[in-house]
Amino acid sequence: MRYFVRKTGFLILTVWVAVTLNFVIPRLMPGNPAQAMMAKFAQQGPISPAQEKALALMLGLPTGSLWSQYWNYLWDLVHGNFGISYSYFPQSVSSVILNALPWTLILVGLITILQFVVGTLLGVYAAWNRGKKFDSTATVLLSFTSAFPYFWLALALIYVFGFILKWFPISGGYNGALAPAFNGQFIGSALYHSVLPAITIFITGVGGSLLGMRNNMINTLGEDYILLARAEGLKNRTIAIRYAARNALLPIVANFAMSLGLVVGGSLLMETVFAYPGMGYLLETAVSNQDYPLLQALFLCITISVLLANFAADIVSGILDPRLRKGAVR
């Protein structure tokens, strides 16, 4: 029980750190983005003090002491009030994000889990047949593919399958002629558009899962209890799956978070290449338009999603591994 309490505490702590970093970083940097924004407006003509005040209110320029700013910020967060987006004016940041979130969550979430499962299974196979053809080909090939920058692989795939072969659409998340709706036509179009993004995430992610599981499994296969199992004359399949893989998997699940952070980061860049209407594309828009309210809210949403996924992985590994629960190990 203590294990779960501690993990919950850690979740709360990390969320607080993310929230606070989000508050502190803009204030640590020289210059004030909102003032830069005002300067931009000022170039188009002189600003009267009244206009300046109106602008400051609209952009949500911070007022008051740092402490009261912090409390106001927390208060706004709790109420889901992230301000107004500069680049999607006059839409609120939260409505812009809510439109984008499902796209990323479904695509990146599903494919990440898929590549994790497939990569782990292949890793078991590679470790068991260590040094054979599949193992040596896969390890070299996949250390290469997992070194691909996501966005670059996305570009290459677009060029080959979108531009030359014309099998798949080049950009977007659905056919622009269709209105988003829950009908077969729209979902079909969305699926069709998601093929290349999905392949990108899968190819760049699967290498890490495979290599991680392979190396862990090799270590596990060197343990005494595997030798014992062999001596007992158990079937290879039983040894590989029931004895070695199960134990090799535990640390992998526990470290799901780190790989998740990488995958999410890479997927964000991938989305900008495909102009896929998710969080990554928004992030690029926010960066190139200096849309700071949107940027900050995106950072928080992405980070908190990763933290929640990590928390889930912690809970799962706590259930799988009694040593963690019993507090025998940290």
């Binding site: 290599l211 190396n215 270590n219 890479g266 900050q296």
Partner: protein, 318 residues
């Protein structure tokens, strides 16, 4: 003489975890450590004898050479923009030309410097921070360890790229120094935790305990007794950090958060993407820099297979 693995369960699982994260790059970390490695073949021979590592070393050497002599062997001047713009590969321009009439091959050869420089400098800073934090936490233990470990764990779960983007977006001036800074701030936690686990194990070995009883100072023990025995972990972590930095730099530059007027592989892809290079059929402009980034990053990963073999005999190829 082989020293038994420490019986402390906490360090054991920490290592197991650390090992798994790094596994693609790096391997297990609780191998018995031989404090008297004189009988062994020297470390470079072990690394070199690994086929994957040998491929990696050769690729890396080619890129380093490219970074050194690139600007001299480039066919044209970097500032030369009078070529027919947006042309595909030809005899005069092996990789074609850019939208603004520059030679892509010339850019590629010049860009090697930036990517390698940023990668290795960031990697070096990251590993130094990781070493200090990891060593202090692992060696002194107690509340120092608790605080630093918590800090590292928090930094580890925060997704790196979004944090880098947030920081980079607020920095008013975008240059190489800023990119290195951003990556140094965000990248150290991973190495820190791995090195801490190593430190924890090593600092409880008999020979270290006896050095303590003999009255050696902490610094002496850390640098003379412990550091040499975890050199392979440090190097593996260093290469891991360099790989991460190279990929992250490319990502930041691709988003336009680098300095677009510097010629690097990341900014080349940024300009190619903005210039619709693919739709004009100028594929070489995008493929070439991306392939270089991928090859460079992969070469470091491959070298780490060999370094793993030094640290962990189980992973040595028969």
């Amino acid at each position: 003489m082989t020293v038994e693995r420490t019986q402390d369960p906490s360090s054991y699982v920490e290592q197991q975890q650390a090992a798994t994260v790094l596994a693609p790059v790096y391997g297990q970390s609780d191998a018995p450590i031989d404090p008297f490695p004189t009988k062994e073949p020297n470390a470079f021979q072990v690394v070199w004898s690994n086929k994957k590592a040998r491929i990696g070393i050769i690729i890396l050497a080619v890129f380093v050479l490219m970074a050194i002599v690139g600007p001299w062997i480039a066919p044209y001047s970097l500032t030369d923009t009078h070529f027919p713009p947006g042309k595909g590969p030809s005899l005069a321009h092996w990789l074609g030309t850019t939208q603004s009439g520059q030679d892509v091959l010339t850019q590629l050869l010049n860009g090697a410097r930036v990517s390698i420089f940023v990668g290795f400098v960031s990697g070096a800073i990251v590993i130094c921070v990781a070493l200090v934090v990891g060593f202090v936490a692992g060696y002194f233990g107690g509340w120092v360890d608790d605080v630093l470990s918590l800090l590292m764990n928090v930094m580890l779960v925060l997704p790196g790229l979004p944090l880098m983007i947030l920081i980079a977006a607020y920095i008013p001036h975008h240059g190489i120094g800023e990119i290195i800074l951003v990556m140094s701030i965000t990248g150290w936690a991973f190495g820190g935790r791995t090195l801490r686990a190593q430190m924890l194990t090593l600092s409880r070995q008999d020979y270290v305990v006896s050095a303590k009883f003999a009255g050696e100072s902490s610094l002496w023990i850390i640098f003379r007794e412990i550091l040499p025995n975890m050199l392979s972990y440090i190097i593996a972590n260093f290469f891991g950090a360099v790989t991460g930095a190279i990929l992250a730099e490319a990502g930041l530059e691709f988003l336009g958060l680098g300095n677009p007027s510097i010629t690097s592989w990341g900014t080349m892809i940024y300009w190619a993407q903005n210039g619709d290079a693919l739709l004009d059929g100028q594929w070489a402009w995008i493929i070439a820099p991306g392939l270089c980034i991928a090859l460079l990053a992969a070469s470091l990963t491959l070298i780490n297979f060999g370094i793993d073999a030094v640290a962990n005999p189980r992973l040595q190829e028969d």
